[in-house]
Symmetry: C2
Subunit: 355 residues, 2 copies
């Protein structure tokens, strides 16, 4: 089995290194191949998603991704900026289903800015559609307004759109995920304002007929952002579009106070996937051996489970992570008095040892 | 001075009644005229924004609005649903600048789901553009996809667009608001993905040159949703588009735990405005004398300040509200042990008395 390793920028290299150590320690025969992406891709080949990197990603059975973005690339024109790499990978590989768990580890309950009773035991799964919506809709650009109250003025514009099969396939993923959990699905939209999301609501409601065992409710995005603050534990699985999912999944991750612990999976129709931590490239702490590698290590576990059919090995990693937390080991981002502060490398080594 | 009173649905009537009592108690000569809106407008005249109501709103110097929406209107076709009233008023009256303070009253610090140290003293002002963006952009609808990967399939679509003058005018409002506060403005966008919001960022940056005393920073919407959870007190003034503002302003309001306390103003280019509580119509508690009228009373104070040039009277109301809180009076939504629970009417009467 071939795994593409795309470390990217900032802390990407360090955290992916530790995840690779963990993968290597499992005693399986994986073929790992590394390629540059993001700013590193631009530096090496003049493009954030170099041809060779895309080719490798296409060939591989799964992709382990670090993070992209670094200040030095901020002033490049948009099409060359690091984030185009991740957008390009999603689109080229058809990774339409983004699964982002927001879980609060009992040992890290204090890390949250929310009161313990509001978040303890939090376990939400956010499913974000990842290849459609206003992220990719054409036409888009800057033009002279062709009509409306500002006709003749310069304007920026984008197109929000969702086709029926796009909504259907992500709805199926969401209902099936809910079936494996508490069987409650909240579809988040803005049907009271947007045609796209009235259509979304209609199709999700249709697909629901195939999953009578799952309780479905619909919630407006503004209300969802409020309920995530007010009573986040009421949610089980949330499904939503690309734009709303970008916002809600980050908000939900931050509720836990430990975004350095949260993995994510982006899957295509055949469960081939790209796996990456939910956090970013944090260039300010890069190269200092202080980044938390656990989100990436847990992403590798998700990869084993969803794309490589190695659920047992995935469990081994998940348990090893729980063990190091129970041992009191903490990187700086989740450190509190009474625990042991360790670096990126030490944390990775501890997980390997705990396997 | 003529004030249009539009109570709307659900708890709208009750809370607006109390705000009207407060206005009447000021000893000023206001001409108040009431008209039905939302579900009540539909029930009376077959449309959520009846012609007579719109005419009154246009003639008036300011509008005091309750809330719209009730289950019995949920199955009407979209163009007849209650929320069309508020969208219509914004658009017809050119109310492009929505000001929503998120303030945590010291007496209500416990109401928040966030830890006291994270939110105590919270005082953010969110400025949301209110007449543009994907809310109103044409074209929109359901069609057969004309191109793209799902060509020929049914799709829902909307157009996100912002013209230069639209961005300029809201930026001016935001910079000027920041000048009166801590002189820090955060513009929230998604410039890394959307053409509309790269354009937004460019124009806001240009307008900044006219306000060198204000510190401007740009933040992506997903990061803003995270930072509002992580460290909300770091913000002073936030400016953003209609869609992102809908989400962020509700999230910020909920951080306080007391959305029943938060007023809002929607202003046109001449500071004529519509004033409404930040919360909704809560049909589940309508007619029970338990809704909190303070957000509406504080909205009336904003109206005096921004549209009617009566800052002193506005201060009187603000102080009266502080007084009743200090007296320990609480409606059910903000009640806690050791305080005195009162109903909608009693709370309104207490504010009148405290004036
Ligand atoms: C980097 C950016 C384009 C990306 C997105 O908006 O999808 C990121 O925020 C994410 O959520 O993975
Ligand atoms: C009712 C709805 C159309 C409205 C909006 O989305 O603007 C509401 O959520 C608001 O924020 O005033």
């Amino acid at each position: 089995m071939k795994i593409a390793i795309l470390p990217g920028d900032g802390i990407g290299t360090e955290i992916v290194d530790q995840a690779v150590n963990v993968l290597n320690a499992l005693g399986e025969k994986f073929e790992l191949e590394t390629a540059p992406v993001g700013g590193a891709g631009y530096a090496a080949h003049g493009h954030p998603l170099p041809e060779g990197t895309l080719k490798l990603a296409k060939e591989a059975d799964a992709i382990l991704f670090g993070a992209v973005g670094d200040w030095q690339y901020d002033n490049l024109e948009r099409s060359l900026r690091p984030e185009q790499a991740i957008l390009g990978l999603r689109k080229h590989l058809g990774l339409f289903a983004n699964l982002r768990p927001a879980i609060l580890y009992p040992e890290l309950a204090n890390a949250s800015t929310l009161k313990p009773e509001v978040v303890s035991g939090l376990d939400i799964l956010i499913i974000r559609e990842l290849t459609g919506d206003v992220y990719f809709g054409q036409p888009r650009g800057v033009r002279t307004a062709p009509d409306g109250a500002f006709k003749g003025e310069r304007e920026g514009f984008d197109t929000m759109r969702y086709a029926e099969p796009e909504i259907r396939r992500i709805a199926h993923v969401a209902f099936q995920a809910a079936q494996k959990r508490d069987k409650r699905l909240t579809s988040v939209d803005k049907a009271n304002v947007l045609e796209t999301f009235q259509f979304w609501r209609d199709i999700v409601t249709e697909v629901h007929q195939e999953y009578p065992d799952v309780a479905l409710d619909h919630m407006y995005i503004d209300n969802a952002a409020m309920q995530l603050v007010r009573a986040p534990k009421k949610f089980d699985v949330i499904v939503t579009g690309n734009m709303f999912g970008d916002i809600l999944s980050d908000q939900a991750a931050m509720l836990t106070g430990s975004i350095g612990m949260l993995p994510s999976a982006s899957l295509d129709a055949n469960n081939k996937g790209l796996y990456e931590p939910s956090h970013g490239s944090a260039p300010d702490i890069a190269g200092k051996n202080i980044a938390n590698p656990l989100a990436t290590i847990l992403s590798a576990a998700m990869m084993l489970r969803f794309s490589l059919n190695k659920a047992e090995q995935a469990d081994r990693i998940d348990n090893a992570v729980k063990k190091v937390l129970a041992q009191g080991l903490r990187t700086a981002d989740i450190y509190e008095a009474g625990t042991t502060k360790v670096g990126t490398i030490e944390m990775g080594a501890a997980v390997v040892k705990a396997l």
